[in-house]
């Protein structure tokens, strides 16, 4: 789960990381009031969970409370990359002398946390890593020992930070690491961390991603979860504990297991078709869950064929067949179905499908071939 900038900055502030003064506004009046309180030029920043919001017009510098109100009324309610802007962070403007990058994430390869710093912040750090890897400083943090002072100091030295700022930089780096640990984050970054014209370090933007598997430890964050950047059908799927991801093709897929779901998408592509979605119904799915999954697939107007691929272990094929039959009784559709059921109660499942005149396939390759053929023939 990704946090908003304002949420990350609240967390940073609680860990002794300097952030610009400011507050959240949800109306032009709020924005004006905050600008008056700050009594200096302010920056309005749209709180939407998409990248590149600055270029899309989501960040404005304004000089007066009146201007803050005018600009806020333009941004609030507008859309940035299809996401409606509901809130703005209104902050004091900062005089920037230099932009730095500091971030940390899980490094799968070494089984530790990787800290990265660069003297060139404010830009896409992955881009810097590709084009000028020598500008990126790295340290690996032992998961049992945690971040040590010398490691933060080494980063400061390596990015050639002026010595008078080292103490502050170490404190900020440790504060960021504590935030990252306490919130079970898989990524925490300050980009940019700026050196101000008067020689201070301040976190101008922040990003945190929390491990979904650790959300049970953070019910307060779950309550504030912002679904606006997530596809509505993906949110609907989550209610039924289904893993659904919308893709751009026209063959809807219903599969049990994540690896098999990916392989099913791949084999559709291998046969010249394009999958409309990734969908994993998990293990031991009930007929109700199968029906809910099919309802979500059939809501996608691009879908021209549905391919069901079930390898029954704890999942029972007859239960899946009942779910398919159920949804087809409820929703009248002429979209063709190709169904492959293998494993537990396969025979019973096939009998149910035969009684409903549904087309089946024995192998995955046969099923994919048929599905691609049907999708080409389908004319609504």
């Amino acid at each position: 789960m990704r946090l908003h900038e304002y949420q990350s900055k609240e967390i940073f502030a609680n860990h002794q990381i300097p952030v610009p003064r400011g507050r959240l506004a949800s109306s032009p009046e709020d924005a004006k009031l905050i600008a008056e309180e700050l009594n200096r030029p302010v920056v309005l920043k749209a709180q939407v969970l998409v990248g590149g919001r600055g270029k899309a017009g989501g960040i404005r510098l304004v000089k007066s409370p009146g201007e803050a109100s005018d600009e806020a009324s333009k941004i609030l309610g507008s859309k940035i990359k299809e996401i409606p802007v509901r809130r703005l962070l209104v902050e004091e403007a900062v005089n920037i002398q230099q932009e730095i990058y500091i971030g940390m994430t899980i490094d799968r390869d070494s089984g530790s946390t990787l800290l990265i710093a660069s003297g060139e912040g404010g830009v896409d750090v992955e881009e810097v890593a590709r084009t000028s890897p020598e500008k990126i400083a790295r340290v690996y943090v032992d998961p049992l020992l945690g971040l040590k002072d010398y490691q933060a100091r080494n980063l400061a030295a390596e990015i050639e930070l002026p010595r008078p700022l080292w103490r502050s930089f170490i404190s900020i780096t440790k504060g960021l690491y504590q935030s990252y640990q306490e919130l079970d984050a898989t990524l925490a970054e300050i980009n940019p961390l700026v050196i101000t014209a008067d020689g201070r370090l301040i976190a101008l933007d922040g990003k945190m991603i929390i491990d979904d598997n650790a959300l049970f430890r953070h019910p307060d964050l779950v309550e504030k979860r912002d679904f606006s950047a997530e596809a509505p059908e993906e949110i609907e799927a989550q209610k039924f504990c289904l893993e659904y991801i919308k893709l751009s093709g026209d063959i809807g897929c219903l599969v049990n297991g994540a690896g098999l779901a990916m392989a099913t998408m791949d084999i559709i592509q291998h046969n010249g078709g394009q999958p409309a979605n990734f969908l994993d119904i998990g293990g031991g799915a009930s007929a109700e869950k199968v029906a809910a999954a099919l309802r979500i697939i059939l809501q996608d107007p691009q879908v021209k064929t549905v391919l069901v691929n079930i390898f029954g272990g704890i999942t029972r094929c007859d239960e899946v067949a009942i779910g398919i039959k159920k949804i087809l009784d409820q929703i009248k559709t002429d979209i063709p179905f190709i169904i492959r059921l293998v494993g537990t109660n396969e025979k019973e499942g096939r009998e149910i499908l035969a009684s409903a005149n549904l087309e089946t396939a024995d192998t995955l390759q046969e099923a994919a071939g048929k599905a691609v053929q049907k999708s080409l023939e389908y004319a609504p």
Partner: protein
């Protein structure tokens, strides 16, 4: 011989009184696995599975009384990390964690903490191990495999079933099948299992099933090129997967351009490994060897 498990395996089940643990314990017993104990804190002294298996409060006591030398974990995610460490502390040498959803930072710590001990952790988020015809420590359906000379290692669950089933349909048997788990941080990687298969007299061919995310398959490809004499057939899932989206498994994600299926397939091919386009092509490739 099989790898990791055999008829000498004396298995204890952590979470045996739960729904999942109970169901799969019955399946494992039916298959022939020697389950010697269960552990559920607070239920020590009970007998389960028709009174055949004693339940203990701790792994320590279970191991002392029964001589268990392997453990399988079915406890819920928020307690599973603790269960792994408890088994490790009690001296269990093989720990198989089926549970999905353990926080990744907890796994970083656990992996580091047991790294200096002589412990083999499989998983988490793994379907376990099966060595036909008598031993399974996990949830892989027993009837979809037959004994044979092909070793299978995979990051996935049902996709692995698909592959071993396709092998069986083609009259090809499995020596041992190991699911290493779909999480970003797992106890055992491809290279560990490949080296076991290389040294296993029953295994003549290895099938390696990878998927998007991380660099494990790329590293395994280098290992195969430099250290393996037995032929390896590969399959990588996720060619059609978009970047920056987690495809069901916590570890199946292309991040910062790292972990694409193309990169993995190229790495395998460069190592001289034949890569199947779809699961059912794997038996065809094996027959052509």
């Amino acid at each position: 011989m099989s790898i990791l498990v055999n008829t000498e395996t004396r298995l204890l089940v952590q979470g045996i009184t739960g729904h999942e643990g109970g169901f799969h314990s019955v399946q494992m017993l039916k298959y022939g696995t020697n389950i010697v104990a269960g552990v559920t804190p607070g239920k020590g002294g009970e007998w389960v599975l028709n009174g055949k298996i004693p339940v203990f409060d701790s792994v320590q006591t279970a191991a002392e009384f029964t001589g268990a030398n392997a453990s399988i974990i079915f406890v819920p995610a928020r307690f599973a990390g603790d269960a792994i460490l408890e088994a490790a502390d009690a001296g269990i040498k093989l720990i198989v964690c089926i549970t999905e959803g353990i926080p990744v930072k907890e796994m970083l710590q656990i992996k580091r903490a047991i790294s200096h001990k002589d412990i083999r952790l499989i998983g988490p988020n793994s379907p376990g191990i099966i060595s036909p015809p008598f031993t399974k420590v996990g949830i892989i359906p027993g009837n979809i495999t037959k004994p044979g000379n092909v070793g299978v290692v995979s990051r996935s669950g049902t996709l692995t079933y698909e592959v071993v089933y396709a092998l069986k349909q083609a009259d090809i048997g499995t020596s041992t099948c190991v699911g290493i788990g779909g999480d970003p941080i797992v106890g055992t990687d491809f290279i560990d299992i490949l080296s076991h298969f290389e040294g296993d007299s029953q295994t003549d061919v290895v099938v390696m099933i990878g998927e998007i995310g991380g660099l494990e398959e790329e590293k395994a490809a280098v290992y195969v090129a430099n250290h393996m004499t037995k032929p390896v057939i590969g399959f990588i899932a996720g060619l059609a997967a978009p970047p920056n989206k987690r495809m069901g498994h916590a570890g199946a994600i292309i991040e910062g351009g790292v972990g694409t299926a193309e990169s993995k397939i190229n790495a395998l091919k460069n190592a001289g490994i034949q890569v199947a386009h779809y699961p059912e092509e794997i038996p065809e490739l094996i027959k052509k060897l």
